[in-house]
């Protein structure tokens, strides 16, 4: 059965909704088995992640980071590269941002400081992706392997740097000092007080802009055209005059830079200091988001918001329902990825039959 036979509205809306429902149904079953009321739980979940403006604001805050890591994985995928290293690239990007802040936050005004932080994050993220990209392009070393290795290496390196150089004397917390107020990304609640006291900040707008730029670059520009050709057929791309190895290196640099930008939201937008393991798996979530979102800007946005909502809603839910451990939501994330991402066409035959029976 081929879902090409279904009308667009069915593949774009009906199927995803059915898939999401299925995932939530299984989740509801588990919640029931844990001894809680699934309907009530879902209500709390949705309410605290979407309906309540403050909750929504947190959802979008988490989504902002995921959009960047999702984009990072997506753009590499366009070139046929599976970058598993966004985690490490974001981590290293955070270092770049922090070094810029530590050096400059006393001397520069916010409107210079913030761009410096952003540049530092992008630069260091790109730097961390360079070697895997270079090795893939020139030596054919599989980027999957090298990026996994670079994640581990990054964790060690950051551990070393933070502990050895960044912890302020006499502090326990494995984190850098807090940056000055000038380094704080403007929060959206300054303009929209309804959002409440939440860290949702300008990074979200940057993320949206990045999505748009990504969409235009990939599908409208000659560069994106070459990029996609490289991903689909390397021989043909060579025939078309694409410099394959520089394309691979460049796209890895961009991918790394995007991952690095993920740290802007987490650090400049919220904590204002660099701490050990601050990435907390956002890079890996980016893989799921890129795959579920089909590397399409709208898809990436929706998946990122879905994951943000799960974190925010799940967090509130576990507060109200002590029998539901937070880990349940990790399980539910897995279910959603399974149903919406991998079994996307599960209901296509049924819908097809229904449509044909009708018309």
């Amino acid at each position: 059965m081929n879902n090409n036979d279904l009308p667009r509205w069915a593949t774009a809306f009906v199927l995803p909704v059915l898939n999401l429902m299925s995932a939530l149904l299984v989740a509801a079953l588990v919640i029931h088995l844990l001894g809680e009321d699934p309907v009530d739980s879902m209500r709390i979940l949705i309410n605290s992640a979407i309906v309540n403006p403050e909750g929504l604001s947190y959802t979008l805050f988490y989504a902002s980071t995921f959009i960047f890591t999702g984009l990072s994985v997506s753009i590499a995928m366009q070139a046929g590269l599976f970058n598993i290293g966004s985690e490490g690239q974001m981590y290293f990007g955070g270092l770049g941002l922090t070094l810029a802040m530590l050096a400059l936050d006393a001397s520069l005004p916010w409107w210079l400081l913030i761009p410096c932080g952003i540049a530092g994050a992008a630069l260091f993220g790109a730097l961390w992706a360079f070697l895997p990209g270079y090795l893939q392009a020139k030596r054919g070393s599989h980027v999957v392997v090298t990026t996994i290795m670079f994640n581990f290496i990054c964790a060690s390196l950051m551990n070393f740097i933070i502990v050895k150089y960044l912890i302020p004397p006499g502090e326990q917390n494995t984190a850098s000092r807090v940056f000055s107020a000038a380094a704080e990304m403007p929060r959206l609640n300054t303009w929209f007080p309804v959002l409440g006291d939440t860290p949702l900040n300008v990074s979200f707008l940057l993320a949206i802009a990045a999505l748009a730029v990504y969409g235009v670059m990939v599908w409208r520009s000659a560069w994106g055209y070459k990029l996609r050709a490289t991903g689909l057929n390397k021989h043909a791309a060579h025939y078309a005059g694409v410099k394959i190895s520089s394309m691979i290196i460049i796209v890895m640099l961009i991918s790394g830079a995007l991952a690095g930008l993920g740290s802007v939201n987490s650090i400049m937008g919220s904590t204002h200091y660099l701490s050990l393991n601050f990435v907390g798996g956002a890079g890996f979530v980016g893989i799921a988001i890129a795959l579920m979102g089909r590397q399409h800007p709208v898809g990436i946005f929706l998946s990122a918001v879905l994951f943000g909502a799960l974190i925010q809603g799940g967090f509130d839910l576990s507060l109200e329902k002590p029998n539901i451990p937070t880990e349940t939501f990790i399980f539910i994330q897995g279910l959603i990825i399974l149903f919406c991402g991998a079994m996307e066409n599960f209901y296509a035959p049924v819908i097809g039959k229904l449509l044909r029976a009708k018309g």
Partner: protein, 323 residues
């Protein structure tokens, strides 16, 4: 000079002891991927089988029931993955990642539900698999070198360790010298050719997934009921991804993959030994930097020595009868 002083002995023994987790998983991945199904879901299967093995071994106080139950859950997951990738023709990476994430959550929730120990199973005590003492160990134990070789390096491991090492020639034989292996490789390289030759691509891939499930479960069982003696949340700690790395590193070939696993085991052991030791030239490296030794070595080897790795051609592509 005493042999033991070199620490090399200790490193080798440690390599042998650590490699099985990776070997089982990598061989599992090998079957799946040579048949054309990307198996990024190794991690989830390891974790699930580690939990189920430990839980059942504890409940029945028999490690073998634990192993069997681990096999069952891992095969069930592999079949689900197969269903998603083969029948549903979904994205194989997504399916695998979904399983990893779901299992990381679910094993904790279930463990907590049943045992109330924070996602840990109770200690297995006598329900663990213990090390085998080879006959005659006592007699040779005191001999220099031979004693070490026989009682520590070769002997004194769990049955699963021997299984892991025996698996490598077995997998090689199955892959290259049996009908099933031939068909499997054909499905991974050119499923259309296999199909035209009268081979059922889907069924072959399912079989490969089931074998992957079985092998992968040993990895989990080894972690839980041999190495640790209990299950702990997320105890697979990236072993599935490392196994995958070893496999890519080994160019999807059993012996090279095995060497990749040993390499991780070896440099992991080296890393333990050089922590806190004054090294020539560089001096004493900080612990956190030493942690990166195995990974840096991998990158160097991959970049410097290896030829380009060539994945099975049809990997990741669902088999659809049309061009």
């Amino acid at each position: 000079m005493n042999f033991e002083d070199l620490h090399l002995g200790s490193i080798l023994v440690s390599t042998v002891r650590n490699a099985p987790v990776l070997i089982f998983a990598a061989m599992a991945g090998l079957f799946a991927e040579r048949s054309g199904v990307i198996d990024i879901g190794l991690e989830g299967k390891i974790l699930a089988s580690a939990f189920v093995s430990a839980a059942v071994a504890f409940a029945t106080q028999n490690p073998w029931y634990g192993v069997a139950a681990g096999v069952a859950i891992s095969v069930a997951l592999a079949t689900l993955q197969g269903y998603v990738s083969i029948t549903q023709k979904g994205n194989q990476l997504v399916g695998g990642i979904a399983i990893n994430i779901a299992m990381s959550g679910l094993t904790f929730v279930v463990a907590q539900f049943f045992f109330q120990q924070g996602g840990r199973t109770p200690d297995l005590g006598q329900a663990r698999l213990f090390d085998v003492v080879l006959p005659g160990s006592a007699a040779v134990a005191d001999l220099p070198f031979i004693g070490w070789l026989y009682t520590k390096l070769i002997g004194g491991h769990s049955v699963l360790v021997y299984l892991a090492f025996a698996l490598v020639p077995l997998v090689h034989w199955v892959l290259y010298h049996t009908r099933f292996g031939l068909r499997l490789r054909a499905c991974g390289e050119n499923p259309h050719a296999a199909d035209a030759a009268g081979v059922s691509v889907e069924w072959t891939r399912y079989k490969a997934m089931i074998i992957a499930g079985v092998l992968c479960s040993f990895s989990g069982a080894y972690l839980a009921i041999v190495q640790s003696g209990f299950f702990l949340r997320d105890m697979s700690a990236g072993a599935g991804y490392l196994a995958l790395t070893a496999m890519v590193f080994g160019n999807w070939r059993p012996v090279y993959t095995f060497l990749g696993c040993l390499m991780f085991g070896f440099f992991g052991a080296v890393q333990i030994q050089i922590e806190g030791v004054d090294l020539p030239v560089v001096g004493r490296l900080p612990g956190s930097l030493i942690q990166m030794v195995p990974y840096v070595v991998t990158v160097i080897v991959l970049a410097g020595l290896m030829a380009k790795s060539v994945a099975p051609k049809a990997i990741g592509v669902p088999f659809v009868k049309s061009r």
